[in-house]
């Protein structure tokens, strides 16, 4: 990045962790413009702080994965909210389309919407409170981690019975996960499903059994599981009927989610 473009005091430095990267550098200021539907210039009229990393010490989330040009911070104190008038109650949503061409998991699959959007200042009207939903909040004030009541991997059969193995993380050692052992974050700056080591290893074992030994999982930082055949091959074997049963810690409802395993699978590109 060419820092000469910005009128700023480059003596202000920082050291912090963002999106799994431990970094340090300088704090600069500039106007921020984003691409927005039907709004050619969706910009902040004020100079906003942003952090320019000069050094990276850790890469915990996306090891060996493209990090793009940076990470926009859209938290509640982000200057991004000045773009929409710094409202007291800040609304936004994440409404994505399909990325991995799911016809290999469901032959008649067709995506309903073709593009992915985030609405700022409002929620999409495609979803209403009458639709099944689950509502929850961070497990601690000021945190972005959400508590989990259930986290299982298994199947709901066509006869409406179910079987799920618990893959929760019970490592409450204060030097490792502590109170955050059974929590999750929702992150757009991470691609797939990130699991603690014990949960990953148990999932890897279950996947290996389900695929008759064809899966190979690497239990390392940014580890992943690979199958020896394309995704299409496993549809007839019933692999894509497996899902994760996830119930968030909430007093708002008793609902749980069934997240298809296919959500986190894709053919090698």
């Amino acid at each position: 990045m060419d820092k000469d473009l910005f009128d700023t005091d480059q003596t202000v430095t920082y050291a912090a962790t963002y999106g799994g990267y431990s970094t340090s550098g300088v704090i600069l200021g500039a106007n921020i413009c984003m691409y927005a539907k039907d709004t050619p210039y969706f910009c902040n009229v004020y100079s906003s702080d942003f952090y320019v990393a000069d050094a990276v010490y850790q890469n915990d989330w996306s090891y060996d994965t493209n990090a793009q040009a940076g990470i926009f911070g859209f938290g509640s104190d982000s200057p991004v909210w000045k773009i929409v008038g710094q409202p007291t109650t800040k609304l936004f949503d994440v409404y994505l389309t399909n990325f991995n061409s799911w016809t290999w998991a469901q032959t008649n699959y067709v995506a309903t919407t073709t593009g992915s959007v985030m609405n700022f200042g409002q929620h999409s009207t495609d979803y209403t409170s009458a639709d099944n939903h689950t509502t929850f909040a961070p497990f601690q004030q000021g945190s972005y981690l959400f508590g989990l009541k259930q986290f299982g991997f298994g199947v709901t059969w066509a006869n409406n019975t179910e079987f799920y193995e618990d893959v929760s993380n019970w490592d409450t050692d204060v030097t490792v996960y502590g109170l955050a052992a059974n929590t999750t974050s929702l992150a757009l700056d991470f691609r797939g499903l990130g699991l603690p080591k014990a949960s990953f290893n148990k999932f890897a074992n279950l996947l290996s059994v389900a695929t008759k030994g064809e899966s190979t999982c690497l239990s390392v930082k940014s580890g992943y599981c690979a199958l020896s055949q394309p995704c299409e091959h496993y549809n007839s074997l019933g692999l894509w009927s497996l899902d994760f049963k996830v119930q968030m810690e909430t007093s708002e409802d008793d609902n749980y989610m069934r997240i298809p395993l296919a959500t986190f699978a894709a053919n090698y590109e």
Binding site: K90, T156, L186, R191, A210
Partner: protein, 171 residues
């Protein structure tokens, strides 16, 4: 952590206030039919995680009495019908490369691995070349002391039972 792919299946509506964040998740209109949000309590069904059994057959064309061989395919071997010995005491799989040379063993001079005293089928020609993961020297497999290159390669028995494994290509 539920990353970007998760949002293919669920629509997330955030509300941030001075008191904190609130998230509502809905089934995304773009998702698979099996995706759901429900409170339904279901009866227990059978486990989908049944440990399978596999029957690996010997190769009647190449086995010798008391020394069975097993047909399998490995990425990196062009030969359409390679066959292998099997070692219960090793965790690693070794193959003889087409450029494999001995260093001179016993009374035999150095030469191709296909010659005495090793008489190996030198089939690993790297076509298609699997991912290289390093080299090895002075490793012992079934009484052979060997060196060469490590690969990540796909092995299949009987055209199925396929898996990616580390393969040691002996040079």
């Amino acid at each position: 952590m539920l990353g970007g792919l998760f949002f293919q299946s669920f629509y997330a509506a955030y509300t941030l206030t001075q008191n904190g964040a609130n998230v509502e998740l809905f089934v995304n209109k773009n998702t698979l039919d099996s995706t759901e949000i429900t409170s339904e309590v279901r009866a227990a069904g059978p486990s989908p995680f049944q440990v399978p059994t596999a029957q690996i057959k010997t190769d009647p064309l190449t086995e010798k009495s008391g020394l069975p061989t097993f047909p399998a395919t490995i990425s990196g071997i062009t030969d359409s019908a390679p066959y292998f010995l099997l070692d219960f005491e090793s965790d690693k799989t070794v193959v003889w490369s087409t450029t494999c040379k001995t260093t001179g063993i016993g009374s035999y001079p150095a030469g191709d691995c296909s010659e005495n005293p090793t008489l190996m089928k030198m089939g690993f020609d790297g076509s298609p070349l699997p991912t290289t993961t390093g080299t090895f020297t002075d490793a012992q497999f079934g009484g052979y002391v060997v060196s060469g290159t490590k690969y990540t390669s796909e092995i299949c028995f009987d055209g199925f039972n396929c898996k990616f494994i580390d393969v040691y290509g002996v040079d």
